[in-house]
């Protein structure tokens, strides 16, 4: 039976864009928010009800940095399995990175990803197009064609745009397309053969160090370029205190820049690598305690606009090997909410700020629909039980991969329902799994 109306009753609605934080009923109908009120009485005859008492009701979460691996590496993840992981994590929309095989540097690949997402029918998937043809960092991709096909931004993520000239042209050329150019900031001549953050742990373990300047110098360069050409720049996965400070200053100057931070970068330091844990190997690498503190401060004061997971699935062939040869990346979709809530419990962020960083912030940064639950907004909602205690169990991930440094971590806060377009696409069942 097709239910056209859904009432989420009695939860604590946290909707930062509309300035709401309190007990509300939310009525969804025909794919949109139909009504929000303290106690909705005028209900349609046929209405499905979710009892949200004691829970948070928040705008569907948006992750602007996800690797879905399709096409080309379907053994690691597919649009379907990635979407299943996304909705289990409360995400109703994800931006899919273009470093697939082939990369998303043509409308054909964009259309394939969109077709797979429609077939999956779970979350909204916004493909990111490549900045450069083949992600080679040499020539601009057909950004106009990619935008027309549905790309939500441009990035060569996974690798930096080493040529300053190409980055400058990308920022200029993308300007009329109205979407951001997303930068993976890493000067490859500085990162060299480094495999973990430069510091005591690297010195102890005898792992070649990757200096923070590899990120910071490129952040500085791209802020200069964005300011000069009035480009729209988004910085992916910031990990260094100096990067956060540079963005803070640039925003004050009026540079059109937004940025994101990942749960692993605001939760862990490079000490997590001890024991040569490849599950804690990612790029940018985990940094010092000072950097974690600065990233948290940036999340709190608005310098950082969104929490994004950089969900990067890898299998045993890439991870159960020597540390220096292991692939970079961790999965993140199914652990983002409890890790973000740790910041609320420890007083780093208000609950409203946590929700904003996962919904309103990314929606604004990328100009995406949703991100709020005002009347008429898309009926994309996450319901969260903020008290539920559980232990992360990678074996239970919907993602095809288990590469997480958080396996076994005791966490609090669980997504109980995810609603996309008014349809319940995920409901947590205690005994069901």
């Amino acid at each position: 039976m097709l239910v056209t109306a859904l009432l989420i009753r009695g939860g604590r609605l946290i909707d930062p864009r509309n300035g709401v934080d309190g007990r509300r009923d939310v009525l969804l109908r025909d794919g949109a928010v139909a009504a929000v009120g303290e106690e909705l009485l005028d209900l349609p005859a046929e209405v499905e009800v979710i009892d949200a008492a004691g829970r948070w009701v928040v705008p569907g979460l948006i992750d602007v940095h996800v690797h879905l691996r399709e096409p080309g590496e379907e053994g690691k993840e597919t649009v379907l399995s990635g979407s299943q992981a996304a909705v289990a994590g409360g995400f109703t929309a994800v931006v899919a990175m273009p470093n697939t095989r082939p990369p998303n540097d043509s409308p054909q690949v964009t259309e394939l990803v969109l077709a797979r997402a429609r077939a999956a029918g779970l979350c909204r998937v916004y493909p990111a197009g490549a900045i450069s043809k083949g992600l080679l960092g040499e020539e601009l991709s057909e950004m106009g064609e990619l935008r027309a096909a549905g790309c939500a931004c441009f990035t060569d993520d996974g690798r930096p745009v080493m040529s300053a000239s190409l980055m400058r042209r990308a920022l200029l050329y993308a300007r009329p397309l109205g979407v951001p150019v997303v930068a993976h900031e890493e000067d490859l001549t500085l990162s060299g053969h480094g495999v973990m953050n430069e510091g005591l742990t690297a010195a102890r373990l005898g792992l070649l160090p990757l200096p923070r300047s590899a990120e910071v110098a490129m952040v500085a360069r791209d802020l200069v370029l964005a300011q000069e050409v009035d480009g729209r720049l988004h910085l992916a996965h910031l990990s260094c205190a100096e990067s956060v400070a540079l963005v803070r200053e640039a925003k004050k100057r009026g540079v059109r820049v937004t940025c994101e931070a990942t749960p692993h970068h605001f939760t862990l330091t490079d000490e997590a690598v001890d024991g040569y844990k490849t599950s804690a190997k990612m790029n940018p690498p985990l940094r010092r305690a000072e950097d974690v503190a600065a990233v948290r401060e940036g999340l709190a004061d608005g310098t950082i606009d969104c929490i994004a997971t950089d969900h990067a699935p890898h299998g045993p062939l890439e991870k159960e090997i020597e540390f220096d040869r292991a692939a970079n990346g961790v999965v993140g979709l199914e652990t983002a909410v409890p890790l973000a809530l740790e910041l609320a419990r420890s007083g780093v962020l208000t609950p409203g700020r946590v929700v904003a960083l996962l919904s309103d912030g990314p929606a604004r940064a990328f100009g995406l629909p949703g991100g709020h639950l005002g009347e008429g907004a898309p009926a994309d909602v996450a319901v969260i039980d903020p008290q539920a205690e559980w232990a992360v169990d990678a074996e239970r991930f919907r993602s095809r991969c288990r590469n997480t440094p958080f396996h076994g971590r005791k966490v609090q806060g669980r997504v109980t329902h995810t609603v996309v377009g008014g349809r319940v696409v995920f409901a947590f069942e205690e005994a069901g799994r």
Binding site: R204, G206, L207, Y276, E322
Partner: protein, 299 residues
Amino acid sequence: MAPRLAGLLAIEGMSKGQVELLLDRAGQLERGLDGPRPLAGRVVANLFFEDSTRTRSSFEIAAKRLGAEVLNWTTRGSSASKGETLLDTVRNIDAMGPQIIVMRHASSGSAAFAARHTRAPVINAGDGTHEHPSQALLDAFTLRKHLGALDGKRILVVGDILHSRVARSNLRCLTLLGAKVALCGPPTLVPKEMAALGAELFDDLDRALEGVDAVMMLRVQMERQQDAAFPTAREYGRRWGLTQARADRLPPGVKVMHPGPINRGVEIATQVADGPRSLILEQVHHGVAIRMAILEACS
């Protein structure tokens, strides 16, 4: 008393007592008190994924003196060169049931990785730029023989500290035994974090040499210099090499060591390497006794 070990992956984590027991036992073994052959009829697997002559031969002789059969597995001609993963190689070796695995590999942490996937005790014979514990033990053994107790002794290690597993193991081992360790080399090759591990850091060799009891010269690893951490071997030799002139300025009792293989005329002058201060061949000699003690402790 013979020490017992479940393997030897690193000096980090060892106690002073464990190290001293191994050194003492090596002393007995060196004097020919080996007696019974605890590895008779057992197989020691030498897994060398990286070139080595000295260390592999030394472990092989040590194992044979303890009565073991030695399997020499090198990358050339083995499945590793056909793309087999380290995990698969280790599982296969493990399935053959060796008593002990001795392993050399180019990746830091690889010995610990192997130890997680085999029942046999693993002895790290050098893992990437991490540790080379048997080298540090034989160095400590050699130093103790010449300097007596190492408490308060000043030992200088010179060269490419960043890429040196010998430096890391020696820093830990000598510090454990009470010595004061100084590190010296081009600033591009001496991580400042080594200070937090207890080392005094220098970039001027002549200053670093003041008051030392022994100096350990590291091999300039030209194969690891892809990032050109110093301009030329000639300049390196002038600034950080143990030249005859520098050696002549040292008090007579100061000893000179080198883990080998040496680059004559780069980090150490030929006359110094072959001169009266040099303990280089003695280090090699002691390597056998130390490795016997380690193998025995793991048997």
